[in-house]
């Protein structure tokens, strides 16, 4: 039976229970195999963390320790003589696993494995199993020593960790718009996701193990851009930057970069997480958007200009009429030798020419493409400078009432956009009153509520047809128009909205069908200029 004992000891050794081996080795004074065996039986019986039991050559259970009872839930009486396959799951039994592992142990001397086993109460546990074949000196198979350990807790912890790692990997690889890479503490690439491949053109195989400087141009590297990123992150914990990077193809692009130092609780640096997002596209979109906005503004201005021109052309003909008339009268006087009277007429002509000149200048100033540039302006004065132009625009059926605050209202906005906005609002008012009426333009200071800062307001109000609530709600949408096809672009109010927002102000529209529409633009008040120099209005 000696060999059997040795077999069990080997099995335990494999499970690294060194104290068991120690206990066996510490009994040299006991002489005789029987004593030894008895001691050993006691030892095996006392082990509770391991199921240690013997099988006969057919796989029937021949011994049972307290560990086995503890782990599997059966007493010795319940299992002795039964086949050990009773602990296997039904599936494993159906696949003939019990016989197979015994065969392996018999052929190779030992079997090691990990699998699910079933307790007496039907619950499963994860078992780490070692089976040793036990043979006598002649090599005859006496049976098997089987050691089973319940590793369910460890297995679950392990599998949670694996799942978490898998999730993280999927997450990192799925973030294709971001380049995510892990660097070691010297800045060498360790991990490289699909986003990084897409952005840079380098595959993980090509770049793992290379320094992060690989992503920067020679100039950037000699300027220490990569080193600086690592150093800043190392010092501050994290460092953000916008910088150019180099693709495999050699093309340059712009990225937002975040370098984050990875330290454990003790503060030991384990490496860096390096995150890049290409923003060249974003930049281009911003530029395109800005361009479009400016074009839209210009188109809107031309639309308003078209409206103005109609009024102005009529007026221009009036001026030409005055010139022609006075010249004809002057000719008559000269024919009769009355130069004095002729000169009087010619003076009138000069006055008319001045009027025409001024009108054209005003139109040109309005039409000229100006970059959007907020400046400090007096809202009232700016609005007042439009009096003449607006009066001509609305035509004879519509009158404009002015109600401008006497004090200056300093606001920060683009003067030309303000003019366009005002023309648009007044034209809307005119068009809402096909049978005539008046448009009221007022300026003033409004305090929205207690504690609110006062704002400078421009209000344009008509007595027109108004519009229902649903329509009013859409009034600021681009291309929304109540006017017949071809009479309006539907951009007027949307431009007004854009302009006011851009000036950090607010715009509100109040409309009652049959009564009229009121549009209120409010701008934050800014300080008056230190010296209020008087600009010529025209």
């Amino acid at each position: 039976m000696r060999s059997r004992t040795q077999g069990v000891v080997t099995g335990i050794m494999e499970e690294r229970t060194s104290h068991t081996i120690l206990a066996v080795e510490c009994t040299p004074e006991l002489s005789g195999t029987d004593v030894m065996e008895h001691r050993f039986e006691l030892l095996v019986q006392s082990v509770v963390d391991y199921a240690i039991y013997m099988l006969d050559p057919q796989g029937r259970i021949a011994s049972w320790n307290s560990g086995a009872q503890h782990i599997k839930g059966y007493t010795a009486e319940q299992v002795l003589g039964r086949h050990f396959s009773m602990f296997y799951t039904e599936d494993d039994r159906a696949r003939g696993l019990p016989d197979r592992v015994l065969a392996i142990a018999a052929n190779e001397g030992r079997y090691n494995g990990e699998a699910w086993r079933v307790r007496r109460d039907g619950s499963r546990f994860r078992a780490m199993v070692a089976i040793d074949a036990i043979r006598n000196a002649d090599g005859q198979l006496l049976g098997y020593a089987k050691v089973t350990r319940d590793i369910t807790a460890r297995w679950e912890a392990q599998s949670r960790l694996e799942q978490s790692e898998r999730r993280f990997r999927l997450f990192a690889e799925g973030a294709v718009d971001y380049a995510l890479c892990m660097l070691d503490h010297d800045g060498f690439v360790q991990d490289w996701n699909e986003g990084a491949e897409r952005m840079t053109g380098y595959t993980a195989r090509e770049i793992v193990g290379k320094p992060v400087g690989f992503l920067f141009s020679v100039d950037d590297r000699s300027a220490g851009v990569d080193i600086n990123l690592l150093r800043q992150a190392s010092e501050k914990g994290s460092h953000d930057d916008e910088h150019g990077y180099l693709r495999k193809s050699g093309s340059r692009s712009l990225a937002k970069m975040t370098m984050r130092a990875l330290r454990d609780k003790e503060g030991v640096l384990h490496g860096f997480a390096f995150l890049l997002r290409d923003i060249s596209g974003q930049r281009a979109t911003e530029v395109a958007l800005e361009t479009t906005r400016e074009q839209l503004q210009q188109a809107q201005k031309l639309d308003a200009l078209g409206q103005l021109t109609g009024g102005v052309a009529h007026d221009f003909n009036n001026i030409l009429q005055a010139i022609t008339g006075h010249l004809d009268v002057a000719s008559l006087h000269l024919e009769r030798g009355d130069a004095g009277k002729a000169i009087h007429q010619i003076d009138s002509v000069s006055r008319s020419v001045d009027r025409a000149t001024h009108l054209v200048r005003r139109l040109l100033a309005f039409a000229r493409r100006q970059p959007l540039m907020p400046t400090r302006i007096d809202l009232g004065r700016q609005v007042a400078s439009m009096t003449e132009l607006l009066g001509r625009t609305v035509g004879p059926r519509v009158s404009i009432r002015w109600n401008l605050a006497p004090e200056p209202l300093w606001v920060l906005c683009d003067a030309h956009q303000l003019e366009t906005a005002l023309v648009n609002l007044v034209i809307n008012g005119r068009d809402a009153m096909p049978h005539g009426g008046s448009v009221c333009i007022s300026t003033g200071i409004v305090v929205a509520g207690e504690g609110e800062p006062p704002t400078a307001c421009l209000v344009v109000e008509d007595e027109g047809i108004g519009m229902p609530k649903e329509m009013a709600a859409k009034a600021f949408d681009p291309f929304f128009t109540t006017k017949p096809l071809g009479q309006g672009t539907g951009l007027g109010l949307s431009m007004v909205h854009g302009f006011v927002e851009q000036s950090h102000g607010a715009v509100a529209l109040h409309s009652v069908p049959g009564e009229g529409t009121r549009v209120t633009l409010c701008f934050p008040i800014c300080d008056a200029p230190e010296y209020s120099h008087v600009e010529p209005t025209h």
Partner: protein, 129 residues
């Protein structure tokens, strides 16, 4: 040669003072008696007082309530024997259908055209009376 001097009377309704003055001077110089009005209400007052007006020469775009065409219709409704010339710098009005005794004249017009149109209007006014 016996010449019966018939002085034709023209009322010029025009809100632009320069145009009103120059047109008036040209017509006076051609021998018309000119009555000037700067608004439709003023024009209606004059019509009330003078039944001998042959031609009403009116701008369409008047600053006040009535436009020139409406003014002409009002004057006709009050039984005036005058014929009408409506004038505008806005060619949009040239498409507006006018009564037979109205004539449209586009601004700017020269002295020759002015006298032609007004002379012709006088002829119409006399025929009708």
């Amino acid at each position: 040669m016996n010449v019966v001097m018939v002085v034709n009377v023209v009322m010029v309704v025009e809100d632009d003072p320069d145009v009103r003055e120059a047109t008036g001077l040209l017509l006076e110089d051609a021998g018309y008696e000119v009555l000037a009005a700067e608004s439709s209400s003023q024009a209606l007052n004059i019509i009330q007082a003078r039944e001998d007006i042959d031609v009403v020469f009116t701008d369409v775009n008047l600053r006040e309530d009535r436009n020139g065409i409406e003014l002409a219709q009002e004057i006709k409704a009050r039984g005036s024997r005058a014929s009408f010339v409506v004038v505008s710098g806005d060619l949009g009005w040239s498409d507006t259908p006018l009564d037979e005794d109205m004539r449209f004249l586009a601004k700017p017009y020269g002295r020759r055209t002015l006298l032609e149109v007004v002379g012709e209007a006088c002829g119409r006014a006399r025929r009708e009376s």
